[in-house]
Every structure is written in C-alpha cells, then in structure tokens.
C-alpha cells in the first residue's frame, strides 16, 4: 500500500480510530492491532512475502532469547548471533543479489573470452526487505552486545519489526529506541498527533508535488539521453537530485508523522542534506538511519578511523561500497558508493570530516560566501554521483556524463514539456526556500506559525493540503521501495 494512495487514505483513519478507541486501555491490544494492520499494509502489495517478515521475526525473537539465556557462555552466544546473521543476510542475499552474482559471474567469464550461456532465477525482490532485515539484525546484535535484554513479549517484538509506517522504506529503527515504545501503553497526545499531521503534509508535498513532477521530466530525458543537449541533461540530473530527495525524505516524513499519530517517535532520517557544506556533512544529514547503522554495526567493529591510515581508508571504502550494494544489485550502485568514498576520503585524511556539525547559518540569516560555495560544490558532486544511481548501467551513466559535459552544456535546454518543467522548477525552489527558512525545525513548514495568528493556522494548513492535492504529479512508486 502506498502512502500517497486512496487505499491508504481509508486505511490510516480506520487503524487510527481502532487504535485510540478500541485498544486504548490495552497495551497488548494496541500492539496486536499494529501487527495486524502492518501485515495488511504489507500484504496489500504481495501477501506471499508476509511469511518472510514472520520468519525474520520468529528467528530473531528466538535467537535473542537464546543469547540472553546463554549469558556466561560467549561461544554459544556467538553461535546464536551467527545464526541470526546467516538467516537475515541469507534471505537478503538470495532475494536481492542471487541474480546479480550469477550475471556478474557470467560477464566476468565473457570478459575473459570464455562466454557461457546462463539463466538468472528471475527472483522477485520483496518490498522493504533491506530495511526490515537490518532492523531485526540490529536487535540480535544489540542483545548480543548486552545493550538490550531480549524481549519476552512476542507481540511487542512483532510490532517493532513490522510497524507499518516504517516497514518498507525506513527509517531503519534500533530496538533500543523503538522496542521500549511497544512495551508501554501509548496515550494519545494532541500536540504530538498534530505535529505528526504537519509532518505528513510536508512529506506529501515533497513526494507528490516535488518528486513526482520531477520524475516526469527526469524519466523522459534519462530514457533517451542521446537525444538531448548537455544543458537538458544537466537539468535532468539536477531534477533527479531533488526527485530522489523529495521522494525518500518525503516518505520518511510521512512515516515519522504517521508514527506520531500512534504515539510512537521514530528517528530522524533526513536533516536538510542539500545544505551540507561538504560530503562528510552530507552523510550526516542523508538517510541518517542507514549511515548510523553502518557506522555502529560495520564501521566501528572494523576499527573505524582508528588505527593506521591504510586501515581508515580501507574501512571507509568498505562502508561506502557496502552502502552502494545495499541500495541495489547493480554495478551502478557500487560506482555510486565508490564515488562518495572518493569524495569523503580527502576530508577524512586531512581531519576535516567533522568540520560542520551544526546546520548552515545556525544563528539565522544567510550563509557566508564560503559556506555557499561549499553547499554548491557538495551538491554538484552529489548530483554527478546520482547519475550513476539513476542510470541502468555504468556505461549509460558514463555516456550521459560525457554528453552532459560537452559543449552543448551551454546551449538552450530543449525537450518537450518545457512549460511544465518550469512549474516543476518552481516547486523545487519553493521546497528549498521553505526548508532553508525552517532549517532549525524538523518540519520546516511549521515555521509559518511564527507569522500567523493561531486562528488562521488551520486555514493555512488546509490551504496547503489543497495546494498539494492540485500540484501533485502523476503517481509514482517510491524509489526506495526497490531497495
């Protein structure tokens, strides 16, 4: 079920009413309802893969129990943790990477002059598998590390694994944060719910108005880049940067806002990454739940930035390459990750990777020229990397960039639907302006409340909802569903 679908418009109020009227006095009832609703939400797309979520839930619930029960025998705990890792990564590997490895293996032989015929398995990738397997895996690891005791409430644990707002595209939550919230009765908070509603609205604007309208231009141009001059390709690359941001951060906002309606706080996933002044800051602001996951469960165990320079470079390279592969089974994602590693390493090696921890111009006003330059340069580097992310193959991305950086870069952008594209650029600028203005808030739109008297705020938000509805582009699936 998509957040921006009519089905969800009916589903959400129904679950909300049941949650706060039918089960408001029973924690077990609330959790059971969340699990039931989450399974319906997921099953709406394909019920056959519900078994995978259930299996992942059962395995990690049992593994954690066994790890806790084996306190004092570290070796046995290790075996149970290994079981969790093998099952979770095995399922992920099979569904996500089996075909990729078969094809890459065959391609490698072809390159060596020994081509052979092969057939891929044609495996369908279950939506959100990369998200929920990482979430369950982190639970077992945290229990193993002693950060958490194993849950004794299966329904609460199942709610943690399958919580529908963040089930298919994150934020990837940590058990230490989310699980305790399913361990206590949730009480309705008007302020929290209203704030959630505002966040959903802003998320819908980013997804339906910005991302979906960008997609119309981007899809046409990326489908046949050879037909367009460099200036048009540059426009499409920039619009894709905003499409993927609007799409994914919009989804995260809707997820976090929806969770708030049920009294659950999810972690922040985006913190205005396009205002980052260098790539290191970008990665502290983009897909935070994944970056911190890799930091905590891979980078630090590998040694992080401690040790020799060679080790630091190796660890950084591993993190970015794995992050690339996490996004998809294609060399384009590997190159995307490698590019980011290349952008990041100079900052790490010169000790400048933690230069910017506060949001730009945190005290208010405009950025300095130096900060502005940093933002433009970072955005440009990130946009070049997005071309690999968006293209179907590394060769296509390379040709795209070659054409983009040709002399035709300075010609007039030519493509059909320029008037619509101009409106889309207007939507993008509106989003950027509002986000800059409200950059110190989690929901930037809420800053408008400083300007409006209380009675007119409802009118403003209703008006903004109508604006979103009328400005929404053709419905597109969320990009991150495929990961």
């Amino acid at each position: 079920m998509l957040f921006n679908s009519l089905d969800f418009c009916i589903f959400l109020p129904l679950v909300f009413l049941l949650h706060w009227y039918l089960t408001r006095h029973s924690l077990r009832g609330q959790n059971a309802l969340i699990v039931g609703a989450s399974y319906v939400f997921y099953g709406w797309w394909d019920w056959r893969f519900l078994g995978l979520i259930l299996a992942s839930t059962v395995v990690d619930y049992w593994v954690a129990q066994r790890i806790t029960a084996s306190t004092g025998t570290r070796r046995r705990q290790k075996v149970y943790l290994a079981l969790s890792i093998v099952v979770n990564l095995g399922v992920l590997g099979y569904f996500k990477y089996a075909d990729f490895f078969v094809a890459s293996f065959a391609d490698a032989f072809t390159l060596l002059g020994r081509p052979f015929a092969y057939a891929t398995l044609g495996i369908v990738l279950p939506v959100g598998i990369s998200f929920y397997t990482f979430q369950t895996l982190s639970y077992s690891i945290d229990v193993y590390r002693g950060k958490l005791t194993a849950s004794r409430d299966f329904v609460a644990f199942a709610a943690y694994v399958s919580f529908f707002p963040q089930l298919v595209a994150g934020p990837i939550e940590r058990a230490t944060r989310l699980l305790p919230q399913f361990g206590r009765l949730r009480v309705f908070s008007y302020e929290q719910a209203v704030y959630g509603g505002k966040q959903i609205l802003w998320g819908l604007f980013k997804k339906m108005v910005v991302a979906d309208n960008c997609a119309v231009v981007v899809n046409d141009i990326f489908a046949d880049p050879g037909a367009y001059p460099g200036s048009t390709l540059l426009l499409a690359a920039v619009l894709f940067a905003f499409q993927i941001y609007g799409d994914f951060s919009g989804y995260s906002d809707i997820a976090i806002g929806t969770a708030r309606l049920f009294g659950v706080e999810l972690m922040r996933n985006f913190a205005y990454p396009y205002f980052a002044r260098d790539v290191a800051e970008f990665w502290r602001r983009w897909h935070i739940s994944l970056s911190t996951w890799f930091r905590d469960y891979l980078y630090i165990p590998l040694g992080g930035s401690r040790g020799t320079r060679v080790q630091a470079v190796r660890n950084t390279a591993i993190i970015f390459l794995v992050s690339g592969l996490w996004h998809g089974a294609n060399w384009t994602f590997v190159v995307w990750g490698a590019l980011h590693a290349l952008y990041f390493l100079p900052l790490l090696l010169t000790g400048r990777n933690r230069r910017y921890t506060e949001i730009v111009a945190a005290g208010g006003g405009l950025p300095t020229w130096r900060e502005l330059w940093g933002m433009v340069a970072t955005f440009s580097l990130v946009t070049v990397a997005w071309v690999f992310f968006r293209a179907d193959s590394v060769g296509e991305a390379w040709q795209y960039l070659q054409r983009m950086f040709s002399t035709s870069l300075f010609s007039e952008p030519v493509f059909s639907g320029r008037l619509d594209a101009l409106v889309t650029v207007g939507f993008v600028l509106l989003m950027v302006a509002v986000e800059y203005w409200g950059r110190r808030l989690e929901v930037p739109l809420a800053r408008v409340e400083e300007l409006l008297p209380q009675w007119s705020q409802v009118v403003f938000y209703y008006g903004f909802a109508i604006f979103v509805l009328l400005g929404a582009g053709r419905e597109q699936a969320f990009i991150y569903f495929q990961f």
Partner: protein, 313 residues
C-alpha cells in the same frame, strides 16, 4: 471536548475541505483537460467513429453528420498507445454504446498498419497489449460527469492543469472530435514531420502487424453490424509517412480490401489522395483537410448506402 475528539474534528475538517476543493476542480474539467477525458463524461452513444489519433483529429462528426443528415455521430477514437484494435478497446466501445436494439446506427472504423500492430517482435500477441494496463483496459465508468474513476486514476497531469491548461490550442469537442487550432508554417511542418517520423521508424523496425488484433477487429465489426452499418476507412497521411507504412506493411490497403469483403464492411482507401490533404505532422490532418476528408467519407457512405438499397446491379 477531549483532545482526541478535537483532533478528529480537525482531521474531518481537512478531509471535507480537500474533498470539496477537489470536487469543485473536477467540475471545471472540460475539453481542455486532456485529449480523452470529455469522452468519458458524455452519455452512452449510438453511432461511433473509431480508431487512433488520426481519426480522433481527422474525422469531424459534425461535418460527417451534416452530409449524412444525422446528429448521433460521436468520435470515440484515442491514440495509437490507447486505442489500437484489440480486446480492451472492444470492451471500452461496448461500454460506451447505448443500450437497446437498434439497427440504424453507423460506425466508421479508421484502420492503418499501426492500429493493427503489436510492439513485441516475438511472443504471444495477447501478452503484448500495452493498452490493457491503461484506461482502455481498466476504466469501468465511461459515461459520468465528473468522472472520478478517470480523474483519480488515469488523468496524467497535476490537477491544477484542469484550471490552467498547458495549451488552449487543443480542445476536445462535445461530439468527441479533437480540435487542434494551430497554424503552422512550412518549416514548422517539416520539423514536426521529422519529429513524428523518428518514433515511427523505430516502430517499423520492432513492431509487426498482428493477426490477433485483426481477429478482434473482425469481431468488433461483427458486433457493431448488429447495431447498424460498419464502414472501414484508411485516412490520408503525408507521402513520407505513407512510404514508411508501405515499407512496414506492404500492400496493407489490399489486405484491408480483402477483410472488407470478408466482413461485408465497405472500405474506402484515401491514401491515393495523400498529396491533396495537409497534415500538421505527417499523420494528423489539419482542420480544413479534416473537414474535406470527413465530407468525402460522408459522401462515400451515402453512395454505399444507396448501392446497398438498390442491391447488386
């Protein structure tokens, strides 16, 4: 009032306000909304003009009706991507036809190689019908105003375009005719034609004429004949486009003539007069030429009707 009730009131208010706003905008949708919408808002029809965008733009029901002395003609032709002949289009047509036994209707079916082709080079044709996933194969409500089913699921632009259309040059008329009000210079025409030929050259390499689609065309003719007379026409196109079509499907008109005999539906081939008519882009007739073509078709239909009444001489 409890905080939960207050929140629900806020939520209900939002639902009512946005639904009302959307409804008000939907009511404004007219012939400028897109090249299809209005056809799904009119009542069920008796006599239809069918085919792809060539017919949608080129055959004017008002002119045809004037020649034939009838006012029940309705243009229900869409595009090559949405209304090639096949099961989905047949079903859509069935939904649009008025109920009741009637044998005096007329149906004009425009045919050309593309409207009877599939885009897959191999494989079963039945798995290669792209229109099945579009409104042609999905839309259940075809005669309601406003048509929520269409606007919510198949309208391809942001809804603000219903109030502020991208262009006022293209307008779908109440009789289903797609009126395009543009004047083009010879240079612009050549550019348009070149642009239009690019995808068709690609189609010519990949597509193929489909027996499956032809079967459904024949089935459609048989069904429509129960309601009245069926006429097949091949509309004129620019000589360059015609040359491409002849390369793609040589002797298509001869084949159509044969089908006409098989199905007892008279066939008029206007590609012999390609040079007489002007198109906007190589395949869509400009208004004056469309008027002329519609008149010619009307007169030919009258002749055919007279011939039928007189019987074989």
């Amino acid at each position: 009032m409890s905080s939960l009730s207050r929140f629900l009131l806020l939520w209900a208010g939002l639902a009512v306000v946005t639904a009302a706003a959307l409804y008000a905008v939907f009511l404004q949708a007219d012939g400028y909304a897109d090249p299809y919408y209005l056809r799904f808002t009119t009542p069920p029809q008796r006599s239809l003009i069918l085919g792809t965008s060539r017919a949608a733009q080129g055959i004017q029901p008002a002119v045809l009706g004037e020649v034939l002395g009838r006012n029940d003609l309705y243009n229900f032709a869409f595009t090559i991507g949405t209304s090639p002949y096949g099961p989905a289009y047949n079903e859509l047509i069935r939904r649009k036809l008025a109920d009741g036994a009637d044998s005096n209707a007329v149906f004009v079916l425009a045919v050309d190689p593309w409207s009877l082709s599939v885009s897959c080079p191999t494989g079963p044709d039945s798995l290669c019908l792209e229109e099945s996933d579009r409104f042609t194969g999905q839309l259940r409500t075809v005669s309601r105003k406003p048509n929520f089913d269409y606007l919510l699921n198949y309208y391809g632009s942001p809804y603000y375009r219903l109030l502020l259309p991208t262009s006022r040059e293209i307008e779908l008329q109440d009789d289903g005719w797609l009126q395009v009000n543009v004047q083009i210079s010879p240079t612009k025409f050549v550019a348009n034609r070149e642009e239009k030929l690019i995808p068709y050259r690609r189609y010519a390499k990949r597509w193929r004429v489909s027996d499956y689609r032809l079967r459904y065309l024949k089935r459609l003719i048989a069904q429509l004949r129960q309601r009245g007379r069926v006429y097949l026409v091949r509309l004129p196109v620019d000589p360059e486009m015609f040359a491409l079509e002849e390369e793609y499907a040589p002797g298509f008109s001869d084949l159509a003539r044969r089908w006409a005999v098989e199905t007892a539906a008279p066939f008029l081939d206007l590609t012999g007069d390609n040079a007489t008519y002007q198109t906007l882009d190589g395949q869509h007739l400009e208004q004056a030429s469309g008027r002329g073509v519609s008149r010619v078709i009307g007169e030919w239909m009258l002749e055919e009707s007279d011939r039928r009444l007189k019987g074989p001489s």
